[in-house]
Symmetry: C2
Subunit: 103 residues, 2 copies
DNA sequence: TTCACATATTAAAGCATTCGCATATCTTGA
DNA sequence: TCAAGATATGCGAATGCTTTAATATGTGAA
């Protein structure tokens, strides 16, 4: 019995989160962080990405509350703040993985 | 123990599907189709969208195998073909809904 | 303060998406 | 065949995203 407009707002916000997640590099980072928090250096060397580029993606995801960060000295640790995005990844990876092969 | 490259391919494909889903109108259409197949007219009048625009979005999602269609006379019925996208929607809606209010 | 390391910011070029509009195609009934 | 309803297609301007490169800032040690 709710007006459809209420849902539109939800969908708007949902789409916003999805749009950020819908990117190969950002998906890669999120998977990498599934094992626990990591520094920027660990991420950009571990995934072989330029430092500045990595920092940009991290900050983008942080601005959408998908990631959170913690500073320790000169290093900054990033971690997953919105674990629903991980569920999303598992859904969509189960999807494309299910058709091609198993891990 | 797999090379990371194998996963990159997956992520690339996953991101592609996600990018199509990550759009308010397309999310709206997908939710609308959750109840079962509907004609283009039902969709575009039900959601108050221009017909041509609706058809474009439907065809885009069909081209990515998210939707499938069936013709019956002059009408075309669209239905969800990839039910994983529905799971995705539920994840991301549970997310944004959980923080604001319940229905 | 100065150096070296870690991280963040900014600008810009190239490319893709969005969405409205006009119009084309397809289908059925008269 | 013609008209009308249902669906699809092509075009284009505005907007947004991606990515690189250069550079700035922040931190700790000497």
């Amino acid at each position: 019995m709710a007006t459809p407009d209420v849902r539109l707002e939800h969908l708007q916000k949902a789409a916003e989160v999805l749009r950020v997640v819908a990117h190969p590099v950002r998906l890669q980072i999120l998977q990498f962080l599934e094992g626990g928090e990591k520094t920027v250096t660990e991420i950009h060397t571990g995934l072989d990405l330029p430092q500045a580029y990595t920092s940009q993606q991290l900050n983008l995801m942080k601005s959408k509350d998908i990631l959170a960060s913690r500073r320790d000295g000169s290093q900054v640790f990033y971690r997953i703040a919105n674990w629903n995005v991980l569920k999303i990844i598992h859904c969509v990876c189960a999807d494309s993985a299910g058709e091609t092969a198993q891990t």
